[in-house]
């Protein structure tokens, strides 16, 4: 188990600033996700860790060693790419043992390690198949086995689930987490899918425009977003005028209270739609003062209302984040 850290990492491509100045430290054995929209710099950060990009300034360290200038093939890291990274001319077993061969591990040990890895990803009897004979999910499992076969100090995952079907994605996501916790490998996981990040991470780094907006546990990021960007990107958000000052208040649908009474802390509105979604009912309210639609999540059965009703909505005390005008 080793730690991985970025200190003051800056990277530009021509005139575009991919990373402004990234400071991020992964504790040994933890899984940190970098979450953000395309172009936020998360993939660049990962590739700098892997050695496929050289930062303009800054230091990357693996444990106690500075590896900023170490070539990619000498860093002891495992990487899983988004898709199509298995060598098509080699069988599954040959793919998995590839890194071991490069390290001159002898045949007997290689074979047993390959067997171990395939069992870890539950593909034991597919050793002799070729990549084009596997499904997308199976290919990514082989990619994972291949990356882990060499017992890397850090595991890097570049949106490994993005190219897969929704169902496969969910299963594989949990498996990756299971394997990672079992092996206690320090892992950096890049994704644009917040559900993934929330589900499997020890900590999440939300990024935007080359900057780390917030680094915290999933709960922190969801319940206590540090900036309007994070509030909007993770989970759904409503935007209401700030009745106690200027600007807007960003509040989650489940943090909005709804009732029939009226007082000076609430805003009046009309219900436009009621959607039953099992445990939660979504009530859409058109708020008078801003003529805007907001969504309120209420536990089903707790609120009885119909389209056309006049209601009062308010931000639950202590919730929401204020965005200056």
């Amino acid at each position: 188990m080793t730690s991985l850290s970025f200190t003051g990492i800056r990277k530009t491509f021509g005139t575009t600033v991919a990373l402004e100045s990234l400071d991020l430290a992964l504790q040994p054995g933890e899984l940190v996700s970098l979450l953000g929209p395309s172009g936020c710099g998360k993939t660049t950060a990962l590739r700098i860790a892997a050695g496929f990009e050289i930062p303009d300034t800054g230091v990357v360290s693996l444990g106690e060693n500075v590896i900023t200038d170490t070539p990619a093939h000498r860093r002891n890291m495992g990487m899983v790419f988004q898709s199509y990274s298995l060598f098509p001319n080699l069988t599954v077993a040959q793919n998995v043992e590839f890194g071991l061969r490069n390290r001159k591990v002898e045949k007997v040990k290689r074979n047993s390690r390959v067997g171990e890895m395939l069992e870890l990803v539950q593909l034991s009897d597919l050793g002799k198949r070729y990549p084009h004979q596997l499904s997308g999910g199976q290919q990514q499992r082989v990619a994972l086995a291949r990356a882990l076969a060499v017992q890397p100090e850090v595991l890097l995952l570049d949106e490994p689930l993005s190219a897969l079907d929704a169902k496969v994605r969910a299963t594989l996501r949990d498996e990756i987490r299971r394997i990672q916790t079992e092996l206690k490998t320090t892992t950096l996981f890049v994704t644009h899918d917040q559900d993934e990040a929330l589900a499997i991470s020890d900590r999440i780094g939300v990024m935007s425009n080359g900057r780390l907006e917030q680094l915290g546990t999933p709960e922190d990021v969801y319940l206590r977003p540090a900036s309007p960007f994070v509030a909007r990107f993770v989970g759904s958000i409503n935007e209401l005028p700030n009745v106690n000052g200027s600007g807007q208040i960003l509040v989650r649908p489940e943090d909005v209270t709804i009732s029939a009474d009226e007082n000076e802390l609430t805003m009046r509105g009309t219900v436009t739609r009621v959607t039953f979604q099992g445990p939660v009912t979504i009530i859409s309210v058109r708020v008078d003062v801003v003529d805007q639609l907001i969504n309120v999540h209420a536990a089903s059965g707790s609120v009885h209302t119909e389209v056309g009703d006049r209601v009062s909505v308010a931000v639950a005390p202590g919730r929401g984040i204020i965005e200056a005008a």
Partner: protein, 307 residues
């Protein structure tokens, strides 16, 4: 009663177990192929009939009856010399094409600056690969013919091009001339193959501890190999069967296509023209083997590019 699973064949409304195909399924299949009838008919009339006719004329003995003596004669003596000669320069021209063309394709595919380089290379290759025939022959006659501009320039540097065996109609000359369309043809065939080499493979290899040499040896070249070999076969077939360029360059009867035309065009007796057709027949057989191998290699390469 156990739950059983029956698999219906292509039969309307009737679920059958694996029994003999019914009338309707056969009809369906036949009608599916019927749309290709015009195409098949066209090929039969204008490709197969001429090809079969070549063989029908080739399988004649000296007295005009059916036999293999013409076919045998077509690959003995001077005719055999001609085949060997053609094989030699075709293989040579193909080799040059593969090496230079392959390298050019790699250079063009991986060039990041200038950005127009790749387009120029591929557009020019499109033109040059189709440029066979007369313009090519004329161009090299004016460059490397006895009175050629290039010949004169080389003389000025002290190199007498024609001092040795060099002649445009001999192996070295033919290889030089044919490279003009072989190299671009190879570029055209190889560019998509090189594009198909995903960067993620290169990066995954490095990530797993492999150097550039490791990558090419264990991943890159093995994946490109079918395309490269296929390219060789294509170039070989192209060079062997080229007629128009050769015709304008020389009247060397050791070039098989020229030899065939001499047999067909001259004042010949019945027996002799069977030999001419046999030459063509053997050429078809040789081309058939080359293209069959090319086809198999291409299928293999495509399989990997779709994985």
């Amino acid at each position: 009663m156990a739950f059983t699973h029956t698999s219906p064949k292509k039969v309307e409304g009737v679920v059958a177990t694996a029994a003999a195909p019914s009338f309707f399924s056969v009809l369906r299949r036949v009608s599916a192929w019927s749309g290709l009838i015009p195409f098949f008919l066209f090929l039969i009339l204008f490709l197969f009939i001429p090809a079969v006719s070549v063989f029908s004329q080739a399988l004649h003995d000296a007295d005009g009856s059916f036999g293999f003596s013409a076919m045998r004669e077509a690959i003995s003596g001077q005719n055999l010399d001609a085949f060997i000669f053609s094989l030699k320069f075709s293989a040579g021209a193909a080799s040059v094409g593969v090496v230079v063309g392959g390298f050019l394709a790699y250079a063009a595919a991986t060039a990041t600056r200038p950005r127009w380089l790749r387009n120029i290379v591929s557009s020019f290759s499109g033109v040059a690969a189709n440029m066979g025939g007369l313009p090519l022959a004329f161009a090299f006659l004016s460059l490397l013919g006895r009175q050629g501009l290039g010949t004169k320039i080389l003389n000025a540097f002290g190199w007498d091009l024609y001092a040795g065996d060099f002649k445009l109609g001999e192996v070295s000359g033919l290889i030089t001339v044919y490279s003009y369309f072989n190299i671009p043809l190879m570029v055209l065939v190889t560019l998509p193959a090189i594009d198909g080499l995903k960067t993620s493979w290169r990066e995954a290899c490095a990530n797993l501890g492999g150097s550039a040499w490791t990558y090419w040896r264990r991943v890159g070249l093995p994946i490109l190999a079918p395309s490269l070999l296929g390219g060789f076969l294509l170039l070989f077939a192209n060079s062997f069967s080229a007629y128009a360029t050769a015709r304008q360059l020389t009247d060397n009867s050791k070039i098989v296509p020229l030899r065939i035309s001499f047999f067909l065009g001259g004042d010949i007796s019945i027996g002799e023209d069977a030999v001419g057709y046999s030459l063509a027949a053997w050429m078809i057989i040789l081309m058939g083997i080359s293209m069959a191998a090319y086809w198999l290699l291409r299928r293999r390469a495509e399989r990997w590019s779709h994985s």
